[in-house]
């Protein structure tokens, strides 16, 4: 499980982060840039993992940090900067996920005679797998995983992403998403139930 990163970094560097924020609030561009660099890798990773598209992830990055830039003066230190930033980022990502659900946008999964496969992984599969049976099994598993993730509601997907891949605690996740820890727990439970029902016979 991926243990993150930004949460831990944010907590560990809190006094430094605070002074960067204060300097950036006074208009110090270098401080703002350093602040961005402290968190931007995990923001981009979150967006990439959720949206599976470098272009969309790039848009999320740009929009999120521009909002931070424009609204940093209003940050009052009443929660951690990490939580505040992730409120912005998760909102933008949730909007994207909802739009995708509505549009049923063409996903990266394509149908083939072997079932559906992920375009992003196709080359790697061909190159890495010499064993055709194993390769087929892997493709099917990946396809199931993608399908299971796409079946989650945007909110379930987000909670799962933040807990499983970003390693954040449900209490923080609730805070970021403007909900309770209990509601985040329920979301995680529903998400894992759905995964189990789709992937159960594969593992």
């Amino acid at each position: 499980m991926a243990q993150d990163a930004a949460g831990a970094v944010g907590a560990r560097l809190s006094p430094q982060v605070d002074s960067l924020i204060r300097a950036a609030q006074r208009g110090d561009q270098d401080a703002f840039e350093q602040l961005v660099r402290t968190y931007d890798q995990s923001v981009l990773r979150l967006a990439m993992n959720l949206l599976r598209s470098p272009e969309d992830a790039r848009d999320v990055y740009q929009e999120a940090f521009l909002r931070v830039y424009r609204n940093l003066h209003a940050f009052r230190f009443d929660c951690s900067f990490h939580t505040w930033l992730y409120r912005i980022v998760t909102n933008i990502c949730l909007d994207q996920l909802r739009k995708r659900k509505v549009r049923k946008e063409e996903s990266s999964v394509v149908e083939t005679t072997d079932g559906s496969i992920d375009r992003m992984d196709a080359f790697e599969e061909e190159a890495a797998e010499a064993d055709p049976e194993r390769s087929l099994w892997n493709r099917q598993l990946k396809s199931r995983i993608e399908g299971a993730l796409q079946d989650l509601t945007p909110r379930e997907r987000m909670v799962f992403e933040l807990r499983h891949y970003q390693g954040l605690r449900l209490r923080n996740i609730g805070e970021m998403l403007g909900t309770t820890e209990e509601a985040a727990k329920n979301c995680l439970f529903r998400a894992t139930q759905k995964m189990r029902s789709v992937l159960g016979d594969f593992v």
Binding site: N49, R58, L141, E146, R163, L170, F189, R196, V203
Partner: protein, 311 residues
């Protein structure tokens, strides 16, 4: 606790989200129940499968995002230099012709290099008509790419075909292996930019050798592909005390057309300040047309108590 209530808590137990009291009760139950223990194993297996799909962030994408953002903030423009292509785009284009996926490039290669290289040509020419040299009924195997050079039917109804074959060989070894390093240095000159990027990525971890240093410098100054130049630049970071390296970077700062490259060069130069840089920076700052880089240069000069203009 019964199986029904434990099965609901298994995901939260797995993610460490239960209270200590709940955790104890789940563990007590698991010790006595094979079915729930199997459910926990399934949960672990699903999590392991999900870990496999995690996306890694391509370094160039991150750099590109940073540049876009800073450009938007400095100039109010949504994108840096709309007329020119970003490094990420250029990189994608360079890769596009070779790979159907970028995923492979996002993987850390680690200490083991797998390089497919090698050329073995065997040619059957009209000058060697002996049937011993011919391979009747043979067909190129799957890993052989053949180019047919000539086809000659003879009077007996047989056919003589001359073809070149390129055979792929895969070797693997640790980065310390001299042969692997030699192959990486060769790969740094391959036509395919993706191979060059990957070899730079590995070579940059071996900057102790003069040969590697020269190769990195050569790529930074001469490589036509932005991705390769950026990757090679990263390898120069520990070598900034070397005057020859700094001198080469002055040239890159003056001449490289790509702002991402120039920006990275400024960062490297600033990380190891010396007085000889002042005149170079003063010269460059006058000509630099990228707002963000110009601001960085001005700040560097200010930090060195130097004026922005030359007199």
């Amino acid at each position: 606790m019964n199986c029904d209530s434990v099965s609901k808590l298994i995901p939260l137990y797995f993610y460490g989200e239960l209270t200590p009291d709940e955790e104890d009760r789940v563990e007590d139950h698991l010790h006595a129940c094979a079915e729930c223990t199997a459910a926990l194993s399934r949960q672990r297996a699903i999590a392991a499968a999900l870990n496999e799909r995690e996306e890694e962030v391509p370094v160039l994408l991150l750099e590109d995002c940073r540049m876009d953002l800073m450009a938007a903030i400095q100039g109010g423009a949504p994108r840096l230099e709309k007329t020119s292509k970003s490094p990420w785009k250029l990189f994608l284009e360079a890769m596009g012709s070779t790979f159907s996926s970028l995923n492979r490039l996002q993987r850390p290669v680690g200490a083991v290099a797998l390089i497919a290289l090698g050329f073995m040509a065997s040619r059957f020419t009209a000058g060697t008509p002996s049937s011993a040299n011919l391979v009747p009924n043979s067909s190129p195997s799957d890993d052989v790419i053949a180019t047919v050079r000539s086809v000659r039917p003879d009077s007996s109804g047989r056919v003589q075909i001359a073809f070149d074959e390129t055979r792929r060989r895969t070797v693997s070894g640790a980065m310390e292996d001299q042969n692997i390093q030699k192959l990486l240095l060769t790969a740094a000159h391959e036509e395919n930019p993706a191979v060059r990027v990957e070899s730079m990525g590995l070579l940059k971890e071996r900057t102790g050798s003069a040969e590697v240093r020269d190769e990195l410098l050569n790529a930074v100054v001469h490589d036509a592909n932005v991705g390769v130049r950026l990757e090679a630049l990263k390898g120069l970071k520990p070598l900034m005390a070397d005057a020859a390296v700094r001198k080469s970077l002055y040239q890159v700062l003056k001449n490289d057309e790509n702002p991402a490259v120039r920006m990275q060069v400024v960062d490297l130069l600033v990380s190891h300040r010396d007085d000889s840089m002042v005149s170079v920076l003063q010269d460059v700052v006058q000509k630099e047309d990228n707002n963000y880089i110009r601001l960085k240069l001005e700040k560097a000069l200010k930090d060195m108590n130097a004026s922005i203009g030359t007199f």
